[in-house]
């Protein structure tokens, strides 16, 4: 497997940098190593743990077919220091059916990096992920995707966050893809918090329909959805939907788009208040790079290309609070790799 295409999506395979490493090539799962955290294939886990049936296909409606994927469980009170990595790789088969289950038990902490990539130019990736973030637990889920021009990607993700729990999702898509549709949905209990950040670059002939939805079901729960879309062509639909169902629920949506040359960006922010005492807001803006910003930086000695590159990088720099430094570096690396292709 080409190592650099794995590095591009944050997969290191290095026990000194990761707590665990899981890889699924086509439909074959392999666990290389795992410490302080339980990692196995979903099929294996379902055989081993009778209780897992109460989690499997409970947040997402069951689909037909033969699914396998990763099962990750962080025991109660355990804070996994290094990130756990999981890679889904499309090599020979035409389609991949993935079912992942992640459980962070009470008071635990998990950083999960998943990278998806494809060697095949065409292919279909169906990924189901169910996340259970228990009381006071915290899960940071960073996904860096590197698809090929003719890949079709249809992941479905649902997250249940219990009292005082935190779920942070970072999604980065910087390579061409034929079709990607994803609308992860989080259900929040009392005082739970969810943050979804995404950075997406659309290329010619790509169709990307991406959003996040959060149900603020518990008192005092809060959500933030931040998206940055850059279009070099093709079409990007940037969605966001926050539903305020409980006393003191708070939600903010921020959708920003930048058009470089051509393409379509369609931002659809939705706010839905179903309780009188909720606080929901959104801001959305789409435009091209302002010439006066480019000129300003040029009067500080930067060339036109350097100025554009600095502005794009600034646009993609979303200050994600609580994001571990190591994950920030992964995202920065991915952005660096795509930067040149954008100018």
């Amino acid at each position: 497997m080409p190592e650099d295409s794995l590095k591009k999506v944050g997969i290191e395979g290095d026990p000194s940098k990761r707590s665990a490493s899981f890889m699924m090539v086509d439909n074959k799962p392999i666990v290389s190593f795992a410490k302080n955290v339980e990692v196995m294939s979903t099929k294996q886990a379902l055989e081993r743990y009778e209780w897992l049936k109460d989690y499997s296909w409970k947040l997402i409606e069951e689909e037909e077919g033969d699914f396998d994927g990763y099962f990750i469980r962080v025991p109660k009170g355990v804070k996994v220091d290094f990130p756990v990595e999981a890679c889904l790789y499309l090599k020979r088969v035409k389609s991949q059916r993935v079912h992942n289950i992640v459980i962070a038990e009470e008071d635990s902490e998990l950083n999960l990096i998943t990278g998806c990539a494809s060697e095949r130019i065409s292919g279909l990736h169906l990924g189901i992920s169910e996340f259970y973030v228990k009381k006071n637990a915290k899960v940071t889920f960073t996904m860096i995707h590197n698809w090929k021009k003719k890949n079709e990607v249809l992941p479905k993700t649902a997250i249940k966050v219990e009292e005082n729990g935190t779920f942070i999702s970072n999604y980065v898509l910087l390579s061409p893809v034929k079709y990607l549709k994803s609308y992860p949905t989080a259900y929040l209990d009392r005082n739970a918090r969810a943050v979804f950040s995404s950075i997406v670059v659309g290329f010619e002939d790509s169709e990307i329909d991406l959003g996040s939805r959060v149900y603020l079901n518990g008192e005092g729960s809060s959500a933030e959805i931040i998206s940055r879309s850059i279009s070099r062509g093709g079409k990007i639909v940037a969605r966001g939907h926050i539903i305020g169902n409980a006393e003191g629920a708070k939600g903010h949506l921020e959708c920003k788009g930048m058009i470089l040359g051509s393409g379509v960006i369609h931002a659809i922010p939705e706010l839905e208040a179903r309780h009188p005492n909720v606080d929901l807001s959104h801001e959305a803006a789409i435009g091209k790079i302002a010439e006066d910003e480019i000129f300003y930086l040029m009067t500080r000695g930067l060339s036109r290309d350097e100025a554009i590159s600095l502005i794009i990088r600034g646009f993609m720099d979303i200050d994600i609070k609580g994001l571990p430094e190591v994950l920030k570096r992964e995202i920065d690396k991915a952005i660096e790799l795509v930067e040149k292709a954008l100018i």
Binding site: A290, E291, D292, E293, F295, Y296, L297, M298, T299, R300, G301, L302, S303, R304, L310, I311, R313, G314, F315, M316, D317, I318
Partner: protein, 251 residues
């Protein structure tokens, strides 16, 4: 020996097809500081933008000569590398780009990496370095940030667009100190090599920085050149129109 650093010859500038400047001539020598006065919309900022090389400001006539070289068609960053520096009245806000990153570029360009700490302290910018460029900056903070960038770029020719507007009394002395350093007004006259143009609407800054000459820009032309303090006084007492009329009469 020719001590001329900037020569603007018969300059005509248009913006969006509208002629803003006509037949502007200016000759500035090494070590000289000019104060540029004029009513709103007279073309002061347009002149600085054209000299800096903003492509939005089209030169339809004339030439700009800097250090003996015709820079009329040179890119802005190339002009900056030759030693031109400009500070903005209202610089754009750029999200995600930190002031710290930009001043690193400026210090590299000016070879002033060892001065960063000193200038940051002098301009009281410590708390702004990790902020997004000009986002949420107060009027005074914007001006101090502009001057910090210029000090680090260490240009030979300095253009300042209203460095004193929107600055409170407490900060104006700091800004005056920075400009004096930029233009070497703190050195004896014969040792000065830096020159520049300061646009000032109110003239406040001239209480802190002494300019050698004053120029009035009026309806897109240079209407008057003289002692900056005389000009300022006349404008304060009689207004621009009368000042220009008197000036023409004495020519």
């Amino acid at each position: 020996m020719d001590r001329g650093i900037l020569r603007v010859v018969n300059l005509g500038v248009e913006v969006d097809g509208r002629k803003i400047l006509q037949n502007v001539n200016l000759y500035i020598q090494k070590g000289q500081t000019y104060a540029l006065f004029g009513p709103n919309g007279s073309g002061k900022s347009t002149l600085l933008m054209a000299i800096a090389g903003n492509p939005k400001y089209k030169i339809y006539d004339g030439r700009i000569i800097f250090k003996g070289r015709d820079i009329t068609n040179l890119q802005a960053n190339e002009r900056v590398k030759m030693g031109l520096g400009i500070s903005y009245q209202n610089p754009p806000k750029i999200s995600g780009v930190k002031l710290r990153d930009l001043i690193r570029h400026c210090a590299k360009l000016g070879g002033t990496e060892d001065k960063v700490e000193e200038y940051v302290k002098m301009l009281k910018m410590e708390n702004l370095l990790d902020r997004d460029l000009n986002v949420g900056f107060s009027g005074g903070e914007v001006k101090r940030s502009e001057l910090l960038q210029l000090l680090l770029m260490n240009p030979e020719f300095v253009m300042l667009d209203e460095p004193d507007s929107g600055v409170d009394l407490e900060n104006i002395a700091v800004i005056g100190e920075a400009i004096n350093k930029l233009l070497e007004r703190d050195k004896p006259e014969e040792e000065r090599t830096k020159s520049g143009i300061i646009i000032t609407h109110t003239g406040h800054i001239l209480k802190y920085v002494d300019a050698d000459y004053g120029v009035i820009m009026y309806r897109g032309r240079i209407a008057c050149v003289g002692d900056p303090y005389d000009i300022l006084k006349t404008v304060e007492n009689y207004g621009y129109e009368e000042c220009v009329r008197r000036c023409l009469r004495t020519l």
